[in-house]
């Protein structure tokens, strides 16, 4: 008998390594008990994480990649939320100018252009809004 055959014969001995008698009879009951206990303990975050891992499992993604993707997603979300929109920031920045009652400065809000900037003859500041009135008709009189 070759060493290879002897090795295979030895390995087959491990088939006999079994748990104590009656082990499998109790196994299902223990499984039910543990399952109930675990379900009570699982947090929503753990459940969501496990679902994500299960969803990605067929793609054979390395486990560390899940964390990387999650971290990138969080960082991207934070960056998007934290970055102010250019339109809003322009308007807010211009309103922070010091105000004076004696020499009123034209104020920019969004894209609206104060008339005072277009024609210097008018001292008072008023705005031309880009919207149209809903109706020019005179109100109905009774």
């Amino acid at each position: 008998m070759t060493p290879e055959e002897n090795l295979l014969k030895l390995l087959r001995l491990k088939r006999h390594e079994q748990p104590p008698p009656g082990y499998f009879d109790d196994f299902v009951a223990e499984f039910r008990d543990r399952q109930r206990a675990e379900l009570m303990q699982l947090s929503l975050r753990e459940i969501i994480w496990e679902r994500i891992c299960d969803f990605l499992q067929p793609f054979q993604v390395p486990r560390l990649a899940y964390a990387t993707v999650a971290a990138v997603a969080v960082a991207a979300s934070v960056a998007i939320i934290a970055r102010p929109s250019p339109q809003l920031s322009g308007g807010l920045a211009s309103t922070r100018q010091p105000m004076s009652l004696t020499a009123p400065q034209p104020v920019m809000i969004g894209n609206s252009v104060p008339v005072s900037m277009a024609s210097t003859s008018s001292p008072s500041v008023h705005y031309v809004l880009p919207t149209q009135p809903a109706n020019y008709a005179s109100p109905r009189s009774f």
Partner: protein, 194 residues
């Protein structure tokens, strides 16, 4: 009276529909085989018990996502192998082998009797020693190699099935077996030399 066994697919469908008893039946059906797989990878009965519970719990939670692309048998074994390998990585060779509970079945095995009562004095190893040596040799293999040896040599699964479970090619399975056998032969030389 002959009773016909309910097919796995039917039990899976019933479980997916919310019948927990159907899953209990799957647990009864698969636990002995998965026990062997996990035990031969961990070499520890207590770890095997805990891990097996976790494996079935995981399968139960994930069963709604099982689409039947592979057999339930393959799917369950995939979960078991992956979880066992992850567990072994975490355990990091905390080699606490429960070798005190030597199984009675092995005592009557003709292969074992021959292996332990050989004419050569070097082969006069007792039951515990042989089992210990076997487990030690197995634990020296990498997790992937040990999984392949367990499934092929101990559980008698075909290469193709192991390849599906481990999501690899049959060639890789054969290659892993080849190197694992070479390594085991060197560790168990005193028992297998002719």
């Amino acid at each position: 009276m002959e009773t016909t066994e309910t097919p796995d697919a039917e039990l899976v469908a019933r479980t997916q529909a919310g019948d927990a008893r159907a899953f209990d039946e799957l647990v009864v059906r698969f636990s002995p085989r998965l026990y062997g797989l996990v035990y031969n990878m961990t070499s520890n009965h207590e770890d095997t018990n805990d891990l097996l519970q976790d494996i079935f719990a995981k399968a139960y939670r994930s069963i709604k996502g099982f689409q039947g692309k592979s057999s339930f048998y393959t799917w369950m074994h995939s979960i078991a192998v992956n979880m066992a390998i992850n567990f072994l990585k975490k355990r990091n060779r905390r080699m606490t082998m429960s070798l005190d509970d030597v199984d009675n079945g092995i005592m009557n095995d003709p292969d074992f009797i021959e292996a332990t009562s050989d004419r050569d004095p070097r082969h006069q190893a007792n039951l515990g020693e042989l089992q210990k040596k076997l487990n030690e040799a197995m634990m020296k293999l990498s997790h992937q190699h040990r999984a392949v040896v367990t499934m092929f040599d101990i559980q008698g699964m075909p290469h193709a099935e192991i390849a599906k479970i481990m999501k690899t090619s049959e060639g890789t399975v054969r290659s892993r077996l080849f190197y694992a056998h070479r390594q085991l032969q060197s560790h168990l030389q005193e028992f297998i030399s002719t």
